[in-house]
Amino acid sequence: MDLLLQVLIGAVRGGTSILYAALGETISERAGVINLGTEGCMLVGALAGYAATATSGDPWVGVLGGAAAGGALALIHAVLVLQRGANQLATGLVVLFLGLGLTSLFGAAFVGESINAFTPIAIPGLSSIPWLGDILFNHDPLTYLSFAVGPAMWWLLYRSRWGLLVRAAGEREEVLAAYGHSPLRVRYLAVVAGGALAGIGGAQLSTAYANAWFENMTAGRGFIAVALVIFAAWHPLRAMGGAYLFGAALALSPALQARGVAINQFALDAIPYVVTIGVLVVLGRKRMHAAPEGLRKVFEMSPSS
């Protein structure tokens, strides 16, 4: 029982940064733009968040810094894709390498520096509920914020005018244009917002989870987020569940090993990806229907020469 509790706590703790990035990628892909550079956006967010916290002494400034950096990197992706007609998957990878390089160039100065990081705040009353209190109500403020961001994203996408514009940009841009809106502007907003959320995810990692900056600290979480969006069929609430599932998979093997159970962590790590492929196979057509129309055009590549 103790093991299950530990894994569930770990799922929320480790899943939060992935959750922010996956929600960001959901908006972006809903508008028809996939960003394989989410990993890069998280990474610059992690460094900018850490650097801003170190210089200002306030982790909330770090969150803003992380969002700004992630958004700025996503803007490069948006310009190339939307203005220059470049291939989305390729420019996404370019953004990834830019993120890797920039954080390596400017991050060396912050390795080993200590910061005034976010600290877990136990919610009075709620945190003393057995189990639930430990799993949900004894976290850093950014984790609490993420509980609200998922449902808020759902509301935005499905219940607000803004969300209708985003979804229309991804599905039928000509309809959007017919009603006098600019699909281009909506897409720009969605991609930059997606990058900003990934940046916040990165900042959560460096200022609330690890409380440190080191090179390549996101270690593939951005790619997990991209996979997760597909797994969740472009739905923000399912993305939330998926993020915690990945978090749990990451937390399970150390927890087992600590109890002397011989288990190879990497066999467990592969499970979420295999499950995602399995889901795609079983629900293949249905899932791909959920894909925004504009995104499907990306995957159906035009002839090369």
Binding site: L36, I76, V79, L80, R84, G85, A86, N87, L89, A90, T91, L93, V94, V95, L96, F97, L98, L100, G101, L102, S104, L105, G107, A108, R172, E174, E215, N216, G220, F223, V226, A227, I230, N264, Q265, F266, A267, D269, A270, Y273, V274, T276, I277, L280, V281, G284, R285, R287, M288, H289, E293, R296, K297, F299, E300, M301, S302, P303, S304, S305
Partner: protein, 357 residues
Amino acid sequence: MERAARGAGRLALAYAAALVFFGAFVITKGVNPIDVYADMWRSLTDGTSLGEVLVKAAPLMLAALAVAVPARAGLLNVGGEGQVVMGAIGAAGVMLALDGTLPGSATLVVMMLAAAAAGAVWAGIAGVLRLTVKVNEAITTLLLNYVAIDLMLYLIYQPWKDPNGSGQPATRQLAAAARLPLVGTSRVHTGIYVALIATAVIWALFRYTSWGFRLRVVGGNPEAARRAGLPVSRLLLSAMLVGGALAGLGGMVHFAGAELKLRPGMTLNFGYIAFLASWLARHKPVNVAGAAVLLAAIAIAGDSLQLDSGLPAAAVNVLMGLVLLAVMGRGSVRTRRQEVEPAPTPTVPAETVSAPA
């Protein structure tokens, strides 16, 4: 003629812009960019570094061709990373299974076959899923990258771990006789020949065979190809299998020529860099190989960045990113036209639309 000249001018401008921007970043770190470029140039033109470039270029060229072949048929292979890893796993598996029972050269041949087969299987999974359940190959190849990396880590942390090693998660080293021979007295291994031969073969296949022609027809218009009686499914699958085999071979070349054992992080984003090399060169085999050498040279220049200028080696990724950004963003007549004329959207109700097989 004039158009070609203008294109070359734009390309030169794009490279220059990338260098200027990277210089600006370097200045913010208090380092003189002129010195940085001079050091990079000096380091790349001396013999040893040139060798390093070729060592790195060999698997990159093969992995980049693994993108170019499916691309000709209109398929997106984002799974080079996983296929390279599978190739390395296949080669290492042969090393452990044969355990020196065969002479070195025979072991090398078996390793190549196993690596190509492992890479082809990995890409083939994505191809089959695309053709049977219509799951997009870009998504599956991307996801399979992680499965392959986790599989490699699983193997080297437990069953394949060297019992006589220093406790590091790695297989034992490849016996000297089964390594790819070196070119003359240099550190360059013959993997570069494998890559060059593969480039020439793919170029010739594209240019002179009906397979190459048919792939292009399928890539251009699958519906027209089907009506013309071409076996579209078989052609698509063959493109994925050949691509995967090439990437697998890249993994073997890297394993048997440079790394000599499986260890974590041995592929270092090869698959993704190769994907970009293929896009940079618009999937034309000879240009793709050239782009792979260019990206390998930039990566090796990172060592000079660290040794001569005191900047982190990974900072060279900024230069690589900027070069790619400038070249891809410089636009072309073709991309302009695509902007003005978006592909017509099908008028069929959404429920009946699915990815074309």
